[in-house]
Symmetry: C2
Subunit: 461 residues, 2 copies
Amino acid sequence: MSSKPATKDPAIEALQSLLGERLSTSAAVREHHGKDVSYHAAYPPEAVAFARSTEEVAEIVEICAAHGKPVIAYGTGTSLEGHVAALRGGVCIDLSAMNEILAVNAEDLDCRVQACVTRKQLNEHLRDTGLFFPIDPGADASLGGMAATRASGTNAVRYGTMRENVLGLTVVLADGRIIRTGGRARKSAAGYDLTRLFVGSEGTLGVITEVQLRLYGIPEATSAAVCAFDDLEGAVNAVILTIQSGIPVARIELLDEVQMEACSRYSELDLQAKPTLFFEFHGSTAGVQEQAEQVGEIATEFGGGDFRWATRQEERNKLWQARHDAYYAALALRPGARGWATDACVPISKLAECLLETRADIDASGLIAPIVGHVGDGNFHLVFLIDPDDAEEMARAKEVNDRMIMRTLALGGTCTGEHGIGYGKLGFLQAEHGEAVAVMRAVKQALDPHNLMNPGKIFSV
Amino acid sequence: MSSKPATKDPAIEALQSLLGERLSTSAAVREHHGKDVSYHAAYPPEAVAFARSTEEVAEIVEICAAHGKPVIAYGTGTSLEGHVAALRGGVCIDLSAMNEILAVNAEDLDCRVQACVTRKQLNEHLRDTGLFFPIDPGADASLGGMAATRASGTNAVRYGTMRENVLGLTVVLADGRIIRTGGRARKSAAGYDLTRLFVGSEGTLGVITEVQLRLYGIPEATSAAVCAFDDLEGAVNAVILTIQSGIPVARIELLDEVQMEACSRYSELDLQAKPTLFFEFHGSTAGVQEQAEQVGEIATEFGGGDFRWATRQEERNKLWQARHDAYYAALALRPGARGWATDACVPISKLAECLLETRADIDASGLIAPIVGHVGDGNFHLVFLIDPDDAEEMARAKEVNDRMIMRTLALGGTCTGEHGIGYGKLGFLQAEHGEAVAVMRAVKQALDPHNLMNPGKIFSV
């Protein structure tokens, strides 16, 4: 942890004259902004600047640049790999006041929002337009933060991730310059794809202050179902064949037997403690029915039981709420424990192998770790239920995680499907991308030569 | 044009010892490699190196780097903005021998190819797998070149462009290092998105030697139709409502009345000389029928005539062949003329306004220029039929094009939907992206400090 900031720091003084009471150096505020929702240790910044506009962010960044202070952008603080930790001190820019929806172009299926509009806020705003924004990480995260970490969620199998759904950005660069990337056209071959360079850059290349997003029409029909399987392998193989058959499922989520037991208790749903798939289908009335029939046949083939259907909005919400509450349900399996949500993603053909070996490894370790997954993408998470003060237990969990990631990489997968690198996965990025990390560093060096933008994240410089 | 190369050039001598007869300095070979299929002037390289492997490309690039020689990658030479022109001399690396399909992972819907596998070669190879690769620029281009220019085509409205369909790359950097970007997982949040940085970088950041691509299952049912409209506005408004309704059409192409007259003659199809939409629907049998009915209703609403259907493969091929031959059909409107294919893309709600103003401007100019477009994306092309030796006529065409691009930008569009910048659109890139171009230059400078990779393309350094 960094020590209490010096009161005479000229950068802090300059920020205070700019922002007045919107510059805080209180211990509680700093502490709150130095930690995300993960198990990673807190690193409070020296001060927190509450910005109101892109221009103000630029002024703050300019002051920090002039004084060699690191800059860390902060949205909802719901990252999972220590992304907001002020590893080298500096100033946290809290963007929560930048929560305005700037434009909704219903006829073009796009919108522009300030960085701290959250995904639920946007969907609430869109409610009367017949449109929605599909990307849904577990948390009600800010759309700027979701862009910065290349977030996804349960709908990615059909609608893609932030990579596919960000059309453009406003970014404040390390020297305070403001640029706009991308545009409103659906495609463009005009120069380097800076939008996708900044999407997933975790605040290390600049501060995202506005986001242009794709929107989608709410489907005519939506239907959801759960289906329990006798074993994990059957459930996973049903997923694989569904994807390979090109059935355009909107969601296909796996909860293993440990997670299902937790969810049944927590959400008071009468569900079996068996590996279970949660499906959602979007389309025309006929299309949804057709998809459901096709998937039903596949499930039967792999030992799936009856589909339990939810076509009414209320029933669907209850099912998906249970899915979204999986993390809290898991925590209740071991009262007092912390959750450590891991993240891995493999090519779909390797999913059964990767999951089964990982499940066996967990069981052998004696740890409790339910598995949930956006398995249509080959993406899955363990939630280790651990006592962070028990060094031996933490070491055991770390070993299981290390083996899981190295297994994932050996199978052609990635060390993170959606959580990002933060400061928790630096070594795995190197293992996955090798010499390409040197190219990432060169890009970083070009855009942030003094290493002030969220330093220590993604890689060390 | 550059002069004949000096025979004692040490870089050329070093390449000759490496490659023997696969290094050519013949005038005919150089001339052929200095020009693409556009109206842009030829700039022959000093020598052409015919590479056989990624490692050999790396060795060639290393030799060029040591001697300060520019490097230009060459696939099929079918670019449209002078991308292959050796503006500052140097060595062209012809990749045509790198045409091996390295892996098809049918179960994961992906494949890996060497850079000079062409899109038709890949689809021919996939024929027995039930899979296909949808991206189809007019030419049978190389997949490496398509990645380098962020190509798209008629299927992009449903399947996306090269941006969405390249999973990873092998790239030789300016100093000869070889990196692999991306991977086989469907999504990843691991570090900067180098894959999408190189996609669309037009050879200015490195030479793409391998491409990992997404594949798709051939749909159960496919159906195509043409529908003539009384006026351009009706046709465009039918497109807009189709897209806004979220109907998942696979293709929706517009040919204006000038182009339709040309196509009817050229392809001996009995079609009216009226603005016409070409549709293709992919899906289940029921799904295709449902889409067709919905689109039929929309077309009727906007003054569309009867749909002329083609469900048999043979009929469909004839229709789409006519669409693909639009360029040659246009050329036949003015024997001896050259074609200048322009490129612009606007948000769909602005398409009618942009097209109608552009059509009026063409008509007022006295030039012949049919319009074709991938209008589902808001993307369209004029084909100016011009005499390049007639300076006054060229100037008039340039003025119409300039106005079209500036109109496109004013409507929130992009100066190129799919052709790229090359050396033909440097000024428009600046007009579109402003300060962001400085960031592109900084990235270029970081990865290619001596400006040897396809110099003079995208921007001047």
